[in-house]
């Protein structure tokens, strides 16, 4: 029983971790907390569903979806975010992503209606615990590949340079604009993965990612908003905590599960605002 719950928590946590990683990527590259990240993931999940329903095999549809999501992320950065960069306050930037949230959500309702749809599981015949573990494995593999790119390649070096200090990077000849677009694209791709991983358990509907976004915020806050490793660790921790609390703490139950990440958020923000793995910002006036 306990082992089963732990596995399910890890499976859900993998999905949260992926979305949290997407949030962290966006934040590190452009300094924006992207409230629309979950909705972009939801849109990608609908695309994946459409592809699978129209007869494409699951394992072909997945990379196609991730690629499309990447393109959508690049486009969003090019068409909207880049035009805001200079001089816009933080609130303006965040509210822009909230506008995108409303827009994408309404668009999905327009195209696919608000009906609940079943999403195919990649492992239909295996027991639920094992499927969760496999989902976590898929997420882990993709995140590992991403980490390799960032740590070991020339492209990764450039990306890290831009994230650390965009102005110095530009002075050293880095095409910062391209890297920022790449960052948004990578974030959208990772987010799409999160949507596809979580869809078999959550069912597909336009507001499926609203709750997940809260979990992902909790994960990113817990791990530190500027730490990719923290996002992944935070996501897994939030997934396991939420599942175990829902099962073993009587007063939490299925109804108050959403409170678990919110309590984590408030506690972390008050006690250790930079998160477990994040770095505290130092400001000079």
């Amino acid at each position: 029983m306990f082992g089963q719950q732990l596995l399910e928590g890890l499976g859900a946590g993998a999905g949260y971790a992926a979305l949290a990683l997407a949030l962290v990527l966006t934040y590190r590259f452009t300094g924006i907390v992207n409230f629309a990240q979950g909705e972009l993931a939801m849109l990608a999940t609908y695309v994946a569903w459409q592809l699978v329903v129209s007869g494409m095999p699951y394992w072909v549809a997945l990379p196609v979806t991730v690629a499309l999501a990447f393109a959508a992320g690049v486009l969003t950065e090019r068409l909207v975010i880049r035009r805001l960069e200079s001089g816009a306050g933080e609130v303006t930037l965040v509210v822009t992503t909230i506008g995108l949230y409303v827009l994408v959500n309404a668009l999905a309702t327009l195209v696919w209606t608000a009906a609940l749809r079943a999403f195919p599981s990649p492992f239909p015949d295996s027991p639920p615990g094992l499927a969760a573990l496999a989902a976590a494995g898929v997420a882990g593999a993709v995140l590992g590949a991403l980490a390799l790119v960032v740590r070991r390649t020339g492209l990764g070096l450039v990306m890290r340079a831009v994230a650390a200090d965009a102005r110095s990077a530009r002075l050293s000849g880095v095409r910062v604009g391209r890297v920022l677009a790449l960052g948004w694209g990578a974030a959208a791709a990772v987010g799409a993965l999160s949507g596809v991983l979580l869809a078999p358990t959550l069912f597909l509907e336009p507001s499926m990612m609203t709750g997940v976004l809260v979990y992902a915020f909790a994960a990113a806050t817990l791990g530190g908003f500027d730490s990719a490793l923290g996002a992944v660790a935070g996501g897994l921790a939030v997934g396991v905590t939420e599942t175990l609390a829902g099962t073993y703490l009587g007063f939490v139950g299925a109804d108050l599960k959403i409170a678990v990440p919110l309590v984590i958020v408030v506690a972390v923000l008050l006690l250790r605002p930079q998160g477990l793995f994040g770095s505290a910002p130092v400001e000079r006036a």
Binding site: V33, F35, V80, R83, L84, G87, A88, G89, E90, V91, T92, V94, V95, T96, I98, G99, L100, Y101, V102, L103, V104, N105, A106, L107, T109, L110, T210, V214, F217, T221, D255, L256, I258, A259, L262, V263, V265, V266, L269, L270, P273, E283, A285
Partner: protein, 363 residues
């Protein structure tokens, strides 16, 4: 001189409206007034101080439900205190402020988007309470709202009243109450923004460290503005409950909070006028689409099932409007009015002489 004329004209138009417009538009106008009160409060917090709040709908819910609970007589399974209704309304606003005060240790210490994330908690807490605290909130079905009674004058349809051959029902009577409340709320907020507190708030938004160095108690200001903005939210909630005549829990969800953020961005961040213009835009859009949706392609009649419902079409439109406004009109609709006035000096628009600085005017 001409400014006084314009003011008199606006006032006369406001007084004449309930004699000519039908109930549908009066109700829409009242929604817009209540939304304007709430949006002014959020603009003090988000626009002027730079603190993002996703929890505004929670404070509207507190105001609306507290008024109902304080004013209603206990019946059957539903509790109530049966207080005089004006006292209930005042207490509801105070209770919203107290709820904001409970959250203010958090609101004082967090800034910007982080506060936005933390205030998400309020929405989920609010929804849980509204659905589960049955004896107070009426649960899923909500509760009927007792009409306000001020010095023996009841804001409802019950004792018939005819003014100049026009029957004055609840909506016509509330129209004037709403106008008075909105005017008072706007004047108070303008006073806050133009005075010392407003300068301090803008400095916190623009440069937190500079504000601290100049002696502004940053955390105390953040907490204080949060409480003030939640009282505005509560007042908007009371007004909304009086217009709706029924409170329903579904309404006070996250989308309502997003509506309010959309209002202040579309209208113009950081000013009273911007909040009012944005509130009118966002709350009248769905009503316009409901009324004239038949003439538009794609938009279906409410409940017919095919095409888009007016509410969804309106959300699509104002989501797009938010993005379009931040891209092309950084000062919002109010900024557009100001620049029109600068380009056309002959045109006199009823606006304040010195606009409050928007975030975009800083370096």
């Amino acid at each position: 001189m001409s400014r006084h004329l314009i003011r008199a004209g606006v006032l006369a138009a406001f007084v004449v409206v309930p004699f000519y417009l039908e109930g549908f538009w009066l109700q829409a106008g009242l929604f817009a007034m209540s939304a304007a009160v709430g949006a002014i409060g959020l603009n003090l917090l988000t626009g002027a101080t730079g603190q993002l709040s996703m929890g505004h709908a929670f404070f509207l819910a507190v105001g609306a439900y507290a008024y109902v609970y304080f004013a209603a007589e206990p019946t059957g399974s539903l509790g109530g205190l049966g207080l005089p209704t004006p006292l209930a309304a005042v207490l509801a606003v105070v209770l919203s402020g107290a709820a904001g005060g409970l959250f203010s240790p958090i609101a004082g210490r967090l800034k910007g988007a982080y506060l936005g994330i933390a205030t998400l908690a309020l929405i989920f807490l609010g929804q849980h309470l509204l659905f589960n605290a049955g004896p107070v909130t009426g649960g899923f079905n909500g509760r009927a709202v007792p009409p306000l009674e001020l010095f023996g004058f009841v804001f409802s349809d019950a004792p018939e009243l005819v003014v100049m051959d026009v029957p004055f029902g609840a909506l016509e009577r509330l129209w004037f109450l709403g106008g008075a409340v909105l005017l008072a709320a706007a004047l108070f907020a303008r006073g806050v923004l133009r005075g010392r507190p407003g300068r301090a708030m803008n400095t916190i938004r623009d440069h937190e460290i500079a504000a601290g160095v100049m002696g502004v108690p940053v955390a105390r200001y953040r907490a204080g503005v949060f409480v003030l903005s939640s009282m505005y939210g509560g007042l908007a909630g009371v007004l909304l409950a009086l217009v709706f005549q029924r409170t329903v829990p579904d309404y006070f969800g996250m989308l309502l909070s997003l509506d309010y953020l959309a209002m202040i961005v579309i209208g113009g961040l950081g000013s009273v006028g911007g909040a009012v213009i944005g509130a009118v835009f966002v709350s009248l859009l769905p009503q316009l689409l409901t009324r004239y949706g038949d003439a538009l392609p794609l938009v279906a009649a409410p409940g017919s099932g095919d095409g888009v419902s007016p509410a969804e079409a309106a959300r699509l439109l104002y989501g797009a409007a938010v993005v379009a406004v931040v891209l092309f009109l950084p000062g919002g609709l109010l900024g557009l009015l100001h620049s029109l006035r600068r380009r056309l000096p002959g045109l006199r628009l009823p606006l304040s002489a010195n606009p409050t600085p928007s975030p975009e005017t800083r370096s």
